[in-house]
């Protein structure tokens, strides 16, 4: 299998529901195997990205809080 692309979504400074909207926009053009990394500062992003993962069935590889941002690393697995 070919290696997926890495996509960075910088949603820092964007208020809810902006970060999820930006993630969805990137997801639309993504393919299974791609890795999407999202940076966000809105505190709602942490629970929201978990809800999005639960809804879409993609894989959350990592969700960490850094001093200046929340980072979510998602593996795209649920594209039809």
């Amino acid at each position: 299998m070919s290696q997926g692309n890495k996509i960075l979504v910088d949603a820092r400074g964007i208020a809810c529901p902006g970060p999820i909207t930006e993630l969805v926009k990137a997801y639309r053009n993504a393919r299974n195997g791609d890795i999407i990394e999202v940076w966000a500062t809105d505190p709602g992003f942490e629970p929201d990205v978990k809800a999005w993962i639960q809804r879409t069935g993609n894989q959350l590889l990592e969700l960490r809080k850094e001093p200046d941002k929340i980072v979510a690393v998602i593996k795209v697995t649920a594209k039809k």
Binding site: G13, I14, A15, C16, P17, G18, I20, T21, V24, Y27, D42, W52, R55, T56, A78
Partner: protein, 138 residues
């Protein structure tokens, strides 16, 4: 993404900014998640979709808190509810105006901003669209 069976419909009646903001937020989030989104503007809210929209109005009882809230919204760079509604529309949300209220106000489809309003429809059409999904009255 979802199978598209999730659906949310809103009847937007109040024309005050405090109630229009959540319309934008919920519409944008739901559209991003792949919900079918139908928004039916009636009452005072309808006048916000005109080519020459009604000016922003806040409810009297919260007037003192408005400057602080606006400051906060600017600080977090929150988009306006109109911008959020446009985002929602770009992801498939539909915006309708109540034909009965439009008639009562002497407004035609041509009076409404075509970048916001998809159509003028009767409540029967709206109820059929909303059937089986969640409905909010705002």
């Amino acid at each position: 993404m979802s199978s598209g069976k999730d659906k949310i419909s809103m009847i937007v009646f109040s024309g005050t900014e405090d109630k229009l903001i959540p319309v934008g937020v919920v519409a944008q989030a739901a559209a991003a998640l792949g919900y079918e989104v139908n928004i039916f503007f009636t009452g005072w809210a309808m006048f916000k979709l005109l080519k020459k929209p009604a000016p922003p109005v806040w409810p009297k009882e919260f007037e003192q808190m408005v400057p602080k809230l606006q400051e906060g919204l600017a600080r977090i760079k929150a988009p306006t509810w109109i911008e959020m509604l446009k985002q929602a529309k770009s992801m498939g949300a539909k915006v309708y105006v109540c034909s009965m209220m439009a008639e009562a106000a002497g407004l035609k489809k041509d009076d409404f901003d075509p970048s916001l309003v998809d159509d003028i429809v009767g409540v029967t059409t709206f109820l059929e669209m909303a059937k089986g999904g969640q409905v909010l009255f705002i």
